[in-house]
Amino acid sequence: MGLNILLIDDDEIERLKFARVLQKNNYPHNSIEAKNGEEALQLLAKKEQLPDLIFLDLNMPKMNGLEFLKELKSDATLHYIPVIILSTSNNHRDLKEAYRIGASGYIVKPLKYQDYAHKIKCLIEYWTINELV
């Protein structure tokens, strides 16, 4: 069964990378994209088809990743959705803060596309075998 994945990243190429990994692996999963936290919240507010998983970039204009995460975790319905941080930096403060607010994972984006593809593959396979709300 395909997962509904919401990817929140302001960088177009990052979104392309993610789509390419899904496509190259022939995953049956469906991905929705948002350019920043505000756009994502608007999407989620409709509550039509809620995603099973959220992949979240931290450094974004307007509402950044951690701010978005706070909003999400304070919402009675949305706070069940697992959020995995995809960040460029392993800044310890961000890492701690993300887990404190309620992130379910924290992935540092590697430089090489091959390494990235590998990490995302593992990640998706892990969440595929999980039971989700």
Partner: protein, 530 residues
């Protein structure tokens, strides 16, 4: 002979008889009177003798018991009598020696002595004569003399007596005391600390510094009480310490308080109050030492401000490094992805040349990423605020040898044991790892040998990491520690490793220097403070 004649003769004889009888009676009477007078005189004489004797012995007693020296001399200065103290003082005994006081006069005081003696003769006395004399055994002594003249019943001077006191010691003590007093007042007057002597809260003495600090004259201050120049609530605050001092619980206390200056401004001063007690332990005086700390407090404030600013800019720098690295790394990742896709998607269309160019592009991207990591590490090396711990460097170095990739042709030896040092594990690991991996990376020999050792030099540890690699030309010995300085263009050389090493050694107050011969090898020596 006629009867008449006989009668006349008879009558005459009778008259004569009677007269003789009367004369005899008078004589007897007078004799008795005389006897009585003689007796009385004798009695008076005895009484006088007794009185004279008594006076004489009284005088002798005074003479003998006089603590001061007593000298009796004739008008020419020949000594007639001396008491025991005089014998002691001058060292002469007139029973044995003839002595004239003129011989005792100190040469330089001769004129003064003669003038005084003149005065003695004309006025009959002198007092408070002070001069030096020679003594037999004690050298020159300074004496004080009161003298008076002795005259006979015709008011003719026949001698003089004097009471002599040796004041040499007294003068010396007085001189020492004056000297010390002078020394003390030089110190007190020139002290930059304000000093005040107080008694029961009243100011009784101040020094110049105290006067200058508060802007009062000495006279103005003497009229004041301590509480007049203190702020009300602060005076109350030190009252408790004052009470404890009065009770003998403490002998001094220090307080930072403000003083009211004459111009109405206040002065922050560190004040040390000490008690001066009498032999009963009761307080006689208090001595207050005050030090102007207005500037010190200002410096402290300024320092706190600077520290705060520094903390802030450190934090900003830290954030900045992370943000910059994030922003710089993002495009690199995109480039890497796009190039990889081009290679993948157009594999068929691209010739070997194009593939090679893409590979070189990827390498450059990779190098850029390393550089950014280097900056991040360099900027965060002094950010860890971990407390210092005991770090076993033997363990640290063996861990490094396990972790880094060491090709088969290279061996790493610990030629001495490494000590346990106080420090931050991450930093020490970085330090050794960068040096060892450099030695591995740049080794060009068939059999590479890397040695790590340590020497104990009192307050420092001196370490060395030596290799038999290509060596570093001496003109680069300083340059290699500068950030982004590399000596070759291997893809993993970023020019950050050694600058991190230098930075860590600086943090531990050590030094690093290079000993190297081109083609033979390099030794990095460095010290860490114990």
């Amino acid at each position: 002979m006629s009867n008449e004649n006989v009668d006349i003769l008879k009558r005459a004889l009778q008259r004569e008889k009677a007269a003789r009888k009367q004369a005899e009676n008078i004589l007897e009477e007078k004799s008795l009177e005389l006897y009585q007078i003689t007796k009385e005189l004798q009695k008076t004489n005895e009484k006088l003798m007794y009185l004279v004797g008594k006076k004489e012995s009284e005088l002798q007693g005074v003479f003998d018991n006089l603590v001061d020296a007593y000298v009796l001399m004739d008008i020419s200065g020949n000594v007639l009598e001396m008491n025991h103290s005089a014998n002691q003082l001058f060292g002469y005994d007139i029973i044995d020696d003839k002595l004239n006081v003129i011989n005792l006069i100190y040469k330089e005081d001769y004129q003064y002595a003669m003038n005084s003696f003149q005065k003695l003769v004309t006025k009959g006395f002198f007092s408070d004569y002070q001069a030096r004399v020679y003594t037999k055994n004690n050298g020159v002594r300074t004496v004080h003399i009161n003298a008076s003249i002795i005259k006979d019943k015709n008011k003719k001077p026949i001698g003089a007596q004097g009471i002599v006191r040796d004041i040499t010691e007294e003068l010396l003590q007085k001189q020492i005391f004056e000297e010390q007093k002078k020394q003390l007042s030089v110190i007190v007057d020139n002290s930059s600390l304000g000093i005040a002597l107080t008694q029961f809260g009243k100011i009784i003495q101040t020094n110049k510094a105290f006067q200058n600090l508060l802007g009062y004259t000495a006279e103005e201050l003497i009229k004041q009480e301590v509480k007049d120049i203190s702020l009300k609530d602060e005076y109350a605050a030190s009252a408790d310490s004052m009470k404890r001092m009065n009770h003998g619980e403490i002998d001094s206390f220090t307080v930072n308080k403000r003083y009211l200056k004459k111009d109405g401004n206040t002065l922050w001063a560190k004040t040390n109050v000490a008690a001066v007690r009498n032999h009963n332990g009761d307080i006689k005086y208090q001595v207050a030492l005050i030090e102007d700390i207005t500037e010190q407090l200002e410096f402290e404030k300024q320092r706190n401000r600077l520290v705060k600013n520094l903390e802030k800019s450190n934090q900003e720098l830290n954030d900045y490094a992370h943000i910059v690295s994030h922003d710089l790394k993002s495009p690199l990742r995109s480039m890497n992805a796009l190039i990889s896709w081009l290679k993948e998607d157009y594999q068929e269309e691209l010739d070997e040349n194009a593939q090679k160019s893409f590979d070189m592009l990827l390498k450059k991207v990779d190098k850029m990423d390393h550089l950014i990591d280097g900056i991040l590490k360099y900027s965060s090396i002094d950010k860890t605020d971990q407390p210092n711990k005991n770090i076993d460097l033997d363990e640290v170095v063996s861990d490094i040898i396990d972790v880094i990739h060491i090709p088969d042709h290279i061996t790493i030896k610990l030629t001495t044991t490494l000590p346990v040092v106080q420090g931050d594990k991450f930093r020490l690991q970085q330090l050794f790892q960068n040096l060892i991996s450099n030695a591995v990376k740049y080794n060009d020999k068939e059999k590479g040998i890397i040695k790590v050792s340590c020497k104990d030099i009192k307050t420092y540890w001196e370490f060395s990491v030596s290799d038999n690699g290509q060596g570093i030309p001496s003109k680069y010995h300083d340059k290699v520690f500068q950030i982004f300085q590399t000596l070759d263009d291997k893809k993993e050389s970023t020019g950050v490793g050694l600058s991190i090493v230098k930075k860590i050694i600086d943090l531990y107050e050590g030094k690093i220097w290079i000993e190297s011969e081109e083609g033979i090898g390099t030794t990095f020596h460095f010290t860490l403070k114990k």
